[in-house]
Amino acid sequence: MFAFAGLLGILIALGGSVALVWHGTRRRAEPSSLKVAARFVLIGGGVAFLALEAALLANDFTLEYVANHHSRDTPFPFNLATGWAALEGSIVLWGLVLAVFTWGVLRRYLREPSRLGAGAMAVMGAVGIFFFGLQLTVADPFRICVDAVANGCVASSPFPWAAAIAPPNGPGPNPLLQNHILMAVHPPMLYLGYVGLTVPFAYAISALALGQPGTDWLRLSRRSSLLAWTFLSMGIVLGAWWAYEVLSWGGYWAWDPVENASFMPWLIATAFLHSSLVQLRRQALQSWNFVLVITAFALTILGTFLTRSGTVASVHSFTQSAIGPVLLGFLFLVLVGSLTLFAARVPMLDRAARLETLVSREGGFLLNNLLLCVYAFVVVAGTLYPIVLEAVTGARVSVGEPFFNRLAVPLSFGLLLAMGVGPLLPWRQADPVAVADRLRLPVGIALFTGLIAAVTISRLGYVVLAVVIGTYVIAVAVTNLVERSAKSSAIRGEPLFAGVRRQLTSEPSFWAGQLSHCGVALTVIGLALAANLGLQTDVTMAPGDTVDFGGYELTYRSPFLFTEPNRRVQGATIAVADRAGNPVTELAPRANYFGADTSGITTPAVHSTWKGDLYLTLLNIDGEGILLRLNTSPGIWLLWMGGLTVGAGGIWSLSARRRTREPSLVA
C-alpha cells in the first residue's frame, strides 16, 4: 500500500516536472499552468516522502528499503531519520526539498511574472525530472521484497503489485547513524543547502538561454542563494559536531571526501554571495557570476557522486550502487551543457565598465573571490587527485589532512585579513590614509588580545596568530558599528544605543554579513586552540585507579553492561574531580553493539566547560581492566559557536530582507 502511494507520488512529481519544462520553455508561459505543474511536483514529492516515513513507522517490511535499513527496535526519532539514512531514501528527501524550492521559485514568479522566471521554472523541472526519475529507476525506495531472510531482503521487484515476502525484522540503520541525534538533523540541513543552490543555477541558465544577462537573475535568486548558503553552513558545522560526538577520534574535520563534498560548494557559494553584490552594485563581474553559479551547482552533484558512487574511499561511503554512472552522466551533462551555453553567450557579457582600483569595496570582494576560489580549487584537487592519478598511472596515493592543512591555513588567514579590511572600504575608490586611520583601533585591540593570549594561553605561533587575526576581524566589525552609530546619533542628538539600533535596522544585510564574519573568526580561533593545544594520552586502568590529566583527576570506578531494545551497551564509569579533589562530574565512555553486530561502535563521553572539553574514549575493555583514551579540546565550543554564528548571520539577513523588501524593479 505504501509502495503504491509512494510510486504514485513519484509519478505525479515526475509528471509535474515534465509539465514545468513544457510550459516554462514556451514563448508565452501561462502562470496558471506553471502553478498547477509546481503544485503537482510539491504534492508528489510530499506524498513519496510521507509514504516512506509512514512505511517506516508502520514497520512495513514488505518494502525492500524498510527491510534492509530499518528494525522494529529502532527508537524514535532514528526510525524517522532512517528515511534519509540510506541512498534511496536520501534521494526521496532530495526530491521533496527540490519540490519545496520549486514552489518558492513559483511564488516569486507569480509575484513578478517574467520569461526569466518561467525559464528558471523549466530548469527546476529538468532537474526534477532527473531526481524523480532516479527514484523510479536506480534509486527506487519502493521496491517490494520478494525473497527474505531472517533480518533482511535478498531479492526485490520494482512492481508494487508483486507478491511480497516480508522478513520478520530488519537489521536497522547503520550503527554509526543511530548513535546520535545530530544525525537526524544534519543531513536534511545539508540537503537544503545542496538543493537550494539549484535555484540560482536555474535562474542563471534561464538568463543565459534567454540572452538576458542583466542583474535580474541575481536579484530574483539572491534570497534562495542566501537560504541555501545558510543551510549549507549550518549543515557543515552540525556534521563536524556529529563527527566529534560520535566518531570518537576527538576530531571534527578530517578532510574526508564527504566533508569536502559539502565544503567545496560552500566555498564557491560564499564567493558568489560576495561577487554578486559587485554586479548588483557596479554591473561588473557578469560572466564571473555565471561561472560561479554553474560551478557551485556542479560541485553539489560532484559531491553527491563522490559519496554515493563508491569510487572514492571515505569514512562515510555507506552506499555503493548503480547510481554512480547515472550521477556521473548528469554531472557531465550539467557541466558541458551549461558551460557551452555560457561560452555561446560570452559576447553579451561584461560590456559594463571596468573597476577603478583594488583599494575599494569591489577590490576587497575580488580578493576574497580569488582566495575562496583557490581554496575551493585546493579542496577539489586534493579530493580528486588520488582517483585521477590511479586511473592514469595506476599509482596509489593518499591526500589527507597534512596536505589540506598546509594550504588551507594560509588561505584562511588571508581570507580573515581580507575580511578585516573589506568592510571598511567604500565602493569605487578608497582613501588609503583614511582607511589606515580607521584600522588603528582594531589593530591595537587585536595585538593587545594577542599579547594576553600569549601570556595566559599559549605562545604557540599558530594560536597567537589566529587569536590576533580573529580578534582583529571582530574588532573591525564592532568598532565600525560603534563609529558609524556614534556619527549618526551625534547628528540626531540621540543616545549611542539608539544609534546602534538605527544602524542595525537600516542596513541589516551588511551587519548580518559582519555577524557571519565574526562567526568565521570565532571558528578559526576555536580551530587553532583545539588543534594545537589539545592533549592526548592512552591509559590502562583497573577499578579504583586514578590518573591526573589536563587539570582533572580521573578515577575509574567500575565497568557496566546493560541492554536496550536496539543495542547492548558496555562501558566504564569514570569519576572526574578537579585538582583539589572536588568532584566535578561522572563520565561513561562506552561501546554500543547494535543488533547482531559483534563489532562495537565506541561513543565518547564529553565534559564541556568554557575552557574546553574533556573527551574520553573507551578503546578496550578486558574483564575489569580498561584501556582509555584521554583527550582535551581547549576552546572547541568556539568552533561550534562560530559556525552557528555564521548561520545566524544568514538567518538575520534573510529575515531582514523579508521585512524591507524592495519594490520590484521590473514590471
Binding site: S287, V291, A298, F305, S309, G310, T311, V312, A313, G324, P325, L328, G329, L331, F332, L335, V336, L339, T340, F342, A343, V346, P347, L349, D350, L384, I387, V388, E390, A391, V392, R396, A591, T598, S599, G600, T602, L619, N620, D622
Partner: protein, 195 residues
Amino acid sequence: MRWARIGALALAAGAVVLAVIFSTRFGNDPNLVPSPLLGQPAPTLALPLLDGSGQFDPSVLEGRVVVVNFFASWCVPCREEQVDLTATANAFASREVIVVEIAYQDAAENALAFLNETGASPDAIYLADPDGRAAIAFGVFGIPETFFVATDGTVVGKALGATDALVLGSTIDAVLAGERPGQQVLGETFDGPGS
C-alpha cells in the same frame, strides 16, 4: 571576452576528461591497495609461540615455501578457512611447505580456544603477535590475509579474504613450480575487534 570563452570551453573539455576518468573507476574497490611486499623479502617471524611455550626460531622456515596467515577468534571468515588451512598444512608437510598462522589483535587464550574448536595441524606453526609488529611488517589491512613466501624468502603471493583448500593448494603448487601468483581478493576482510 575571448579568454572567457576559451576558459569556459576548456572547463567543459576538462569535464569530459574527468567523466571518462571516473567511468574507469566503477567497480574498483578504492580500499584495495596492492601490497608493496610482493617481490620483496618477507619480514622475519621472530615471535613468541601462541601456546606460550617459548620463542619461535624463524630459521626453521629457511629454504621452504611458507604460508603466512593472519587470523583471530573474532574474525568471521577466519572460521571458514581454518579447516582448509589445517588440511593444507597436513597435506603439504611432506613437501617442505610450512603453514604459519599468526593471531592478530587477539588474546592468546581466545586464539587457542578458537584453534581448539576449529582444529589445528601438528605440522603448522601458531604464533602470537602481541604488539602487532608482524602485522605491521606484513602490511596487514584487515584479516584474513594470507601471504605466500617462496623458498628464497621472497613474498610472491597475497590473498585477501577467506581462502579455501583449493586456492591454498593451487597457489602453493604454483609457488613450488617457481611462479609468482601475485595478489587476489577472495572476500571480505575485518579491520579489528572493535571497529
